[in-house]
Symmetry: C2
Subunit: 293 residues, 2 copies
């Protein structure tokens, strides 16, 4: 009667906007699900639907075959993996740990090395596609891992996205996600400036979008967030405080790699100003505020 018994037990840590949508899809696919979060109340809907609550990362790790983490910052990731009651110390040999947080490539490399030393495997697999992509299982998943490790977890990742691309060994998933965030950051500047000009010139911004959205200026952000800017909808699909965090990681990585990225530096400055003005929980399209007065 229960076909789920043959499926690996999946642990999920971090049930924010993205994490909860992703955990939901894994549960819906029939995987036995264990959950842990810093704010236990966020786990309540999952526990009510049959998931097992685990009181600590270590307790969760001991109970699972695959552990997925989707938390806030590299500091949070490091604490989860390296603590005494953390994933690396507590997971059973053979467990596969997948960090889907957007985090530091260097940290991903460190985790993978420590995992190998402990008889585990670690994968970095950050995602793109936002809350809608997470709900619909249409995320793009950027994977840094040994091929064999990815093969073992592919069925679980396929619950989350159809676009799963292995970029290379540990860390390369994170590097690729930083590329993604670098493109997004300056593209948001592009979108907001185009619309700011339209507004100042007295154009009808929706009609402008209708003209330029199908041409060379067109893209996901212009076509999806442009209308929100026009309508004054600043609600978050992706928080400003998160893009600020990601740009901080990207900027310091770029620095280490000797890459001078003035567009990233500019976007980082503008977004930080907004975050410092108290708009960190608005969506990235609220960068349009910078151009209003």
């Amino acid at each position: 009667m229960n076909q789920a018994t043959s499926l690996p037990v999946v642990g999920f840590i971090g049930l924010g906007i993205m994490g909860s949508a992703m955990a939901q899809r894994i549960a819906a696919a029939g995987y036995p699900l264990h959950v842990h979060t810093r704010s236990a109340e966020k786990a309540q809907p999952f526990v009510a639907a049959g998931a097992h609550w685990q009181a600590s990362p270590g307790a969760l790790a001991r109970a699972c075959d695959i552990v997925i983490t989707m938390v806030g910052t590299p500091v949070d990731v490091a604490a989860l993996y390296f603590g005494a009651d953390g994933l690396l110390a507590q997971a059973r040999p053979g467990t596969i740990l997948i960090d889907m947080t957007t985090s530091s490539p260097r940290l991903a490399e460190r985790i993978a090395a420590a995992a190998e030393a402990a008889g585990l495997q670690a994968i970095d697999a950050p995602v793109s596609g936002g809350d809608i992509g997470a709900r619909d299982g249409r995320l793009s998943i950027m994977v840094g891992a040994a091929e064999s490790a990815l093969e073992q977890v592919a069925p679980v990742l396929q619950c989350l996205g159809k676009q799963i691309v292995r970029q290379g060994g540990p860390g390369t998933g994170q590097h690729t996600k930083l590329c993604n965030q670098i493109v997004i950051a300056s593209t948001m500047v592009a979108v907001c400036e185009g619309l700011a000009y339209a507004r100042r010139a007295g154009l009808d911004m929706s009609t402008v979008l209708a003209s330029i959205g199908g041409g060379a200026a067109g893209g996901f952000l212009l076509n999806n967030l442009g209308p929100k800017i026009v309508n004054g909808d600043r609600s978050a699909g992706f928080f400003i405080e998160h893009i600020v965090k990601d740009m901080g990681i990207a900027g310091s990585e770029a620095n280490e790699l000797g890459a001078e990225l003035p567009g990233l530096a500019l976007a980082y400055r503008l977004y930080r100003e907004l975050a410092e003005s108290g708009y960190g929980r608005e969506g990235t399209q609220a960068l349009s505020r910078y151009y209003e007065d």
Copy 2:
């Protein structure tokens, strides 16, 4: 036998990459075509195919019902329209003049006012979609015009693009095109910086494009010019010297409108550096040079 006799006579001035592809489509649709260019040899293929050569803008204007201009800069546009042997002085009453050059919105307003005083109608109708869009008749056309004027020339414009959007009265087509160029300028910075980071991080750039092109970072420029950057193809669909010209117009218009656009200022600086280094005839994707060393 000749259904073309009922069609209006169309004049076309400016046979560069874009102009020649556009004039070709108008001739192919059966319109009697008169041409004029500063470099007469560019008109040769058209004359060989049956178009009428006209030795001056004024001579062309006197022979045509509709005149389309697609030249380099606002200075060129002003000379064509306002000269003694220019379009405004020489066109027969009732002629409709369409400037499809990316030019100054203020100049478009001046031309439209002068046209009205002379019993003519003037339309600003800059385009987006590049050389490929021009050849395939899939340009996006941004129109500033009285509705009645647009209606009269719509069949001709439909040879050039399916996306024809009237933005408002004279000047608004140009304003909309500047919005388009503002978005493109910073998006090119975004694309080049994302790929520059990928290269520095040792990633396979094609695999990175495969991951990020379908997500929130995706768009026309990443997906069409990204692969050219990866392959080192700097050939021009759109010249750097033209985006520099357009950003110059956009920057001074933004200034007049009181809009501070730091992303545009940055892109303008980077592209101008490249143009000054002799790369003005490379394609806009050659901005990637800035990030190499």
